[in-house]
Symmetry: C2
Subunit: 109 residues, 2 copies
DNA sequence: TTAAATAGATACCAAAAGGTATCATGTCAA
DNA sequence: TTGACATGATACCTTTTGGTATCTATTTAA
C-alpha cells in the first residue's frame, strides 16, 4: 500500500480526472460541486474521485452529509520517482524537483 | 497532432509499457528483442510499442526486415507541461526541469 | 417529525484495452 | 530460388473502464 505507482499513473490517464485535479488544486470541493462542472452524472464523477483517491492524488474528509475532496500533491511523488529513472536524459536536474516534492511532504493538515 | 497529452498519459498508464521504456532507455531494440523480456506474444508487445509510439515516447526506424525502437525522451514534454499547472504546490522548481527537457530537444542523431 | 438534499451502493451497458491465434508480406542467406 | 526469419495485419476473446439508472441511507433544516 502507500505508494502504488500503478494506481497513480492510472488515475492520471483520464482527461476528466486531470481536469478534476486542476479544479481541486484551486479549492476543496464536494462531489456535487465537481459534478457541476461536467456533463455527466454525479455517480460517474464519484467513480473518478474514487480512482483519484486510490492513486493518492486527493484526500477525502466527511463534513456532515458532505464529502469534501482535497488535492493531495504528495501523491505525485511516485510519478516523479519513476521519472527519475531517466535522469541521464535530462541531466540530474530532476532531483531538484523531487526534493521539492519531498519537502512539501512534511506538512500536515 | 504532435503533442497530444492524452496519448502520452495513456501510454504511461500501463506497467508493461513503462518497463519497455526503461529497457529502451538503455539501448535500441527490435520488437523480438523487447518481446524476449516478457511472457507475452510478439503481437501483444507490438501493440504496446504502437501505443508508445502514438504517445511519442519512442520513435521507430526500419532497418532491413527489422524494426528498431528507440526511446524518445522529448515525448515527456507534454507531461511536464501539464505538471507545470501545479507549480504553486512545489514552488517553481519544476521550470528547471522543463528547461532541461527543452534543451535536450535540440539534439539530433 | 418530516421533507429535501447529499451521498453511497448496485446493477447494468457499451466501448476500449490487453491479450492470443492465425495468416500474409517482405527480407536475408544459402 | 527457396526456405527461414522478422514483421504486419486481422479477427477474435476476455476484462477493465467510463458511464447511466435506480434504490438506499444519512443529514440538515423547516
Amino acid at each position: 500500500m502507500g505508494t502504488d505507482i500503478q494506481e497513480t499513473f492510472r488515475a492520471l490517464a483520464d482527461p476528466t480526472r486531470r481536469d478534476i485535479l486542476n479544479m481541486l488544486s484551486h479549492e476543496d470541493m464536494t462531489i456535487a460541486q465537481v459534478a457541476g462542472h461536467f456533463d455527466m452524472t454525479r455517480a460517474a464523477v464519484k467513480k473518478h474521485l474514487n480512482v483519484l483517491e486510490q492513486g493518492q492524488l486527493i484526500t477525502v474528509r466527511t463534513s456532515g452529509r458532505e464529502r469534501i475532496n482535497r488535492f493531495h500533491p504528495e501523491g505525485f511523488k511516485p510519478v516523479f520517482d519513476w521519472l527519475g529513472y531517466f535522469d541521464g536524459f535530462w541531466d540530474d536536474r530532476l532531483s531538484a524537483l523531487k526534493n521539492a516534492i519531498e519537502t512539501k511532504d512534511t506538512s500536515d493538515d
